[in-house]
């Protein structure tokens, strides 16, 4: 935060003395006053829901009772989830979904950005066209893809049958084996333009002088990319991957609209399953426990990720 009083840059006194801490707070009272409204809002919209979700996770809500009449069951909800076959299947689906969507969206976006970084006729038009999947509504895209994939009269099936490549339309979203990969393809199609834009922005920061110097020194195209361009893209790549991973862990629209998590739970991921438990089946307690577990898992991943990121920056500073 930017200091406006001039006191924020005052040297900090070492030591845990309470009086010292209070004095420090008092000295920075203007800073705290500035951030107070934001902290209050955060407490209301983030801290309270987290507290409420954790609290609710220790209760059960049978279908005949209102939420306010919930019954305390201790850790039963957690036990029910962790011993449920469905949870582990959904977890596996979520990991596959997140990993493949993130890695492949990033890879495709990265490659596209590199291709579009070169000057050629029609680059602007192509760039605009490639951004379309990202800017159109995810709901509309899901419905369109549902029809493209339709197992009886989908566009892909009609083309394949029409060309004589297949006898009958392939089963994309009505089969437990193919539904998740099919949805991942849609997700990659939706997300890769985001990675492309981020990398394109990163490419603008690569100094031309460095590339020219490397060329003069006889570096090949690959060497220039690997030793000059790529290091400059490391930070933007890290942020892009993080954002994609978080978005994919929290995906809802595409799987929910296209399959509702089916068939036979084969395309349920954490968020769709939690939604179904809460709003479709009113298992508020179980859904809350599920959310708490998801929160802990994501916080753990986030912790290690940020630690790795901080480690990289530290190394950069030391270098």
């Amino acid at each position: 935060m930017t200091s406006v009083t001039g006191q924020a840059n005052a040297p900090r006194r070492p030591g845990p003395a309470r009086a010292g801490t209070l004095r420090n707070v008092w000295q920075h009272r203007a800073d705290y006053a500035y951030v107070l409204p934001a902290i209050v809002v955060m407490l209301i919209v983030i801290a309270y829901p987290i507290y409420y979700t954790v609290d609710l996770s220790f209760y059960t809500t049978p279908p005949s009772l209102q939420l306010r009449d919930k019954i305390f069951v201790g850790f039963d909800n957690y036990q029910a989830i962790l011993t449920s076959e469905v949870f582990w299947r959904v977890t596996w689906n979520t990991l596959i979904w997140t990993f493949l969507s993130t890695v492949l969206s990033f890879a495709l976006g990265f490659a596209t950005a590199l291709a579009l970084h070169r000057d050629f006729i029609g680059r602007g038009i192509l760039r605009a066209i490639l951004i379309i999947p990202w800017v159109i509504s995810a709901v509309a895209a899901s419905y369109i893809w549902k029809w493209i994939y339709h197992s009886d009269f989908g566009v892909i099936g009609a083309i394949l049958v029409g060309l004589g490549i297949a006898d009958r339309p392939p089963n994309f979203i009505d089969s437990v084996g193919t539904v998740l990969p099919s949805l991942i393809v849609v997700n990659i199609w939706r997300e890769f333009p985001f990675a492309m834009i981020m990398i394109m922005a990163g490419l603008q920061t690569v100094p031309d002088q460095l590339l020219s110097a490397a060329k003069v020194d006889g570096a090949s195209a690959w060497q220039r990319f690997w030793h000059v361009t790529f290091p400059h893209l490391r930070n933007v790549s890290t942020v892009t991957v993080l954002l994609l991973a978080v978005a994919n862990f929290n995906s809802f629209i595409i799987p929910w609209i296209m399959t509702g998590g089916g068939p036979s739970n084969a395309s349920h991921i954490w968020i769709t399953h939690i939604y179904e438990l809460a709003f479709g089946r009113q298992r508020w307690g179980v859904a809350s426990a599920y959310s708490v577990l998801l929160f802990l898992i994501l916080m753990t991943i986030g912790y290690f990720y940020v630690r790795a990121l901080s480690g990289d920056k530290k190394k950069d500073r030391e270098a």
């Binding site: 197992s151 009886d152 339309p169 009505d174 296209m258 068939p263 179904e276 479709g280 009113q282 298992r283």
Partner: protein, 494 residues
């Protein structure tokens, strides 16, 4: 077009009705406005247009026509699978209500069948519900048992309890108290394409008599013509799935509980009975063994079957009489040769009674919707304008509007609706209506339990999907579903 419900079928229907009346009849009631023991297409025709009703005058006695107030109202409205005719009636209803009660500020919101429950539940948690709501028949017990609804009986809005189907009144009763009023009640029928039957070597004017025949016919159609035979629907969280599978389950003698018995107690779970497994096996045979139904059945709903049927790519399906009007609407939108093709399908459309199980048991879901008033503490703003709510409910459940709002696809919740001139007009205009009204006596209501929405919208489709995708065997899927119902009733499970 030929009406294919023969005298024999009607006679059988009337005879079977005598033994099934107990399924829909309640305890000692005053005489209803129509004679349920005579129910047949001929009887329905004989009473149509025999009485006049003045809706404004009747509702004016409940809430004065100059009453000034405000009402928020959510309802299960028309959606993509409904005919344009119904859209017009919904429009007319709200226009007429506003004209009749010009000082009531009505803020209505239409939601689709599949979205209504989720949205309503969420609103209730935030005390942001509307003052009145029209819910699918499945939802009433859940919300009544939780204490969200105000007691509300037909007498509160100027009608008599006997004016409504006894089975429908059961669906709005919880712990002996009535919490709502039925707006419409429906039973579906079996539809087939006579031309496809003929080309497949089947009798074009004869519906399959049993569910085993449906399996056979579906295979024959698929094998001979390479198109889907029967319009199976197994999508999760879609009302279409239980409405199509439960008649099959009951027909084979199965059930979730004993809901198909004369006096159900809902004590014993029967989803894993041999009869229930036979019903599931029939679906498995069509989807997996014979591949004679749409592959997309797991993600489709009936609205997806309609264009398949109109395109001549589907031989048989279960639906409302309104599907005939939907086909007419869709045909109007077709162009070139597709228009002629669609006309051929419409000309060959036939309606019949839903097939029986191996022991001759015929069953269909006794569906419909109910209208309720919320308690003030759960309503946005904390107030309920009861006179305004009662005015709207009186209007919708009147003989006139309960018929008009169910014009193409259903039947009036208020039995007096059958006596109106609009019923007579409807019988002349809506093809095959007599077939679906003939199915009413075979109607079985969903179990009147708070757990019913989850059972019908999640557990039943899950059971079907588990078996049809090969994720589980038929036995395992049935056992798994039965266990899920047991767990649910015990308050646990995932």
């Amino acid at each position: 077009m030929t009406r294919t419900l023969g005298c024999g079928a009607i006679l059988r229907g009337t005879v079977v009705f005598a033994s099934i009346t107990s399924l829909i009849a309640g305890p000692a009631l005053a005489a209803p406005p129509v004679d349920l023991s005579k129910w047949s297409p001929d009887y329905v025709r004989s009473i149509a247009g025999t009485e006049e009703f003045d809706t404004a005058a009747a509702c004016g006695k409940v809430t004065p026509l100059d009453y000034k107030g405000r009402l928020t109202f959510w309802y299960q409205g028309v959606f993509e699978g409904d005919p344009d005719l119904l859209r017009q009636y919904y429009k007319d209803f709200f226009e007429t209500f506003r004209k009749t009660y010009p000082n009531i500020q009505l803020e209505e919101q239409a939601l689709t069948y599949n979205d209504l429950l989720d949205k309503f539940r969420t609103a209730l948690l935030g005390n942001a519900a509307p003052m009145a709501v029209r819910l699918q028949i499945l939802g009433g017990t859940e919300f009544a048992s939780k204490g969200y609804l105000q007691p509300l009986k037909p007498e509160d809005v100027g009608w008599a309890t006997e004016d409504f189907w006894p089975g429908a009144m059961k669906a709005v009763t919880w712990d002996g108290v009535t919490y709502g009023i039925p707006t419409n009640n429906e039973t579906m029928a079996f539809i087939w394409n006579a031309d496809i039957f003929k080309r497949a070597g089947l009798d074009p004017d004869k519906a399959p008599a049993t569910w085993d025949d449906v399996v056979k016919y579906s295979k024959q159609i698929h094998d001979k013509l390479g198109i889907a035979g029967y319009g199976l629907v197994a999508r999760k969280n879609a009302g279409n799935t239980p409405y199509r599978f439960m008649p099959q389950l009951w027909g084979y003698g199965g059930g979730v509980f004993d809901e198909a018995d004369p006096s159900p107690t809902y004590g014993e779970v029967r989803l894993n009975s041999e009869a229930s497994k036979r019903a599931l096996q029939a679906s498995y045979d069509m989807y997996v063994r014979d591949k004679s139904v749409p592959v997309s059945a797991l993600t489709n709903q009936q609205a997806d079957n309609q264009p398949l049927f109109l395109g001549g790519q589907l031989g048989m399906m279960i639906s409302h009489p309104s599907d005939y009007n939907v086909m007419l609407d869709l045909q109007k939108k077709a162009t070139g040769s597709d228009k002629d093709k669609a006309q051929t399908v419409i000309d060959n459309m036939r309606y019949g009674l839903i097939p029986t199980g191996p022991d001759g048991k015929r069953a269909v879901v006794f569906g419909g919707s109910n209208i309720h008033i919320l308690k003030p503490e759960y309503v946005d703003g904390g107030k309920v304008d009861e006179p305004a709510a009662k005015a709207l409910i009186c209007f919708w459940t009147s003989p006139e509007w309960s018929l008009k709002m169910a014009y193409a696809g259903s039947n009036p919740g208020n039995l007096n609706g059958f006596k109106t001139k609009w019923m007579k007009e409807r019988l002349d205009n809506i093809k095959f209506l007599d077939v679906t009204t003939s199915m009413l006596p075979y109607g079985i209501p969903f179990p009147a339990l708070p757990e019913s929405p989850e059972i019908m919208n999640i557990i039943i489709p899950d059971m079907l999907q588990n078996a049809l995708t090969g994720a589980m065997s038929v036995d395992q899927a049935a056992e798994d579903a039965a266990k899920n119902v047991e767990d649910l009733k015990g308050g646990g499970g995932l």
